[in-house]
């Protein structure tokens, strides 16, 4: 089991998750530092992420979009605020419109990632802080919509089976 604990603070609108991986710190750092690896896990399989820009340095920006099963795109951006390889990464995470420009009205999530060596294994702590409940909602909707689509896709498949039978 990779996830050790998660803590939610409703008042502070923050979320902390601790996970442990059976791999060296340098390898876990790679899944954040290498955009090609990042693309393999940031979005769910039905909504893979594509990073078009990835300036991995303090103050640098990353632009990405996620592509849905019907070809629809949801855009986002990161701004790296602190990078201390291979143990600490901080970035702001926001939404982007179809042209890739930031949508400020939806708010920004600040994320802090820390990696610690626990004797050959790596403990990863993610802390996300939201600006508002509305923004948290939007964040989750992006993740949830995919679940709805998958449910709808399953129903479509069932109906198609009936049509053939």
């Amino acid at each position: 089991m990779s996830v050790i604990s998660s803590t939610k603070n409703l008042e502070a609108l923050s979320f902390t998750l601790v996970a442990e991986f059976d791999a060296a710190v340098e390898l876990v750092w790679q899944v954040w530092e290498d955009p090609r690896q990042l693309e393999r896990w940031w979005g769910p399989p039905s909504w893979p992420a594509t990073f078009e820009r990835f300036d991995f340095e303090p103050g640098g920006k990353a632009d990405y979009y996620m592509t849905g099963p019907e070809g629809e795109k949801a855009g986002g951006w990161w701004r790296f605020t602190a990078i201390q390889a291979p143990s600490r990464l901080e970035f702001d995470d926001g939404f982007a419109d179809e042209g890739g420009d930031p949508v400020d009205s939806m708010g920004i999530t600040h994320a802090t990632v820390t990696l610690e060596d626990t004797g050959g294994r790596t403990r990863m702590t993610i802390q996300s802080t939201f600006e508002s409940e509305e923004q948290m909602e939007q964040m989750v909707q992006m993740g949830m919509e995919e679940g709805m689509r998958e449910a709808a896709g399953q129903i479509d498949a069932i109906l198609a089976d009936h049509a053939r039978a």
């Binding site: 769910p44 990863m124 964040m139």
Partner: protein
């Protein structure tokens, strides 16, 4: 949830416009005409979509003057708690995918 309820729910989600309407009205309230302006379809077509969502208890509709205001139906939900739970689920899935990548060596 009865079979009929489940049918209504799945029917409601089985359309891209309806999913988009739910996503929008969960965050802010919209009038039916305001929603109609967003899609390349008639006011009547959007109104039908809203009616399907209303029957599935996913949105509520209320008359305000000449407008019909559509909102997400959150009643009885501890919204922030639920959202954080779902956000946690998203991260648990991400951690699972990272573990898979690391396991490849």
């Amino acid at each position: 949830m009865s079979d009929a309820d489940a049918d209504r729910l799945f029917q409601a989600f089985a359309d891209a416009t309806r999913r988009d309407i739910v996503r929008r009205v969960t965050v802010a309230e919209y009038s039916v005409s305001g929603l109609a302006a967003l899609y390349a379809m008639s006011f009547a077509a959007v109104q039908k979509h809203v009616a399907v969502l209303e029957r599935a208890s996913l949105v509520t509709k209320e008359k305000r003057g000449r407008e019909q205001i559509v909102r997400g139906n959150h009643e009885g939900l501890q919204k922030a708690r639920r959202l954080l739970d779902e956000y946690e689920a998203i991260w648990r899935q991400r951690v699972g995918r990272i573990a898979d990548i690391l396991a490849e060596g």
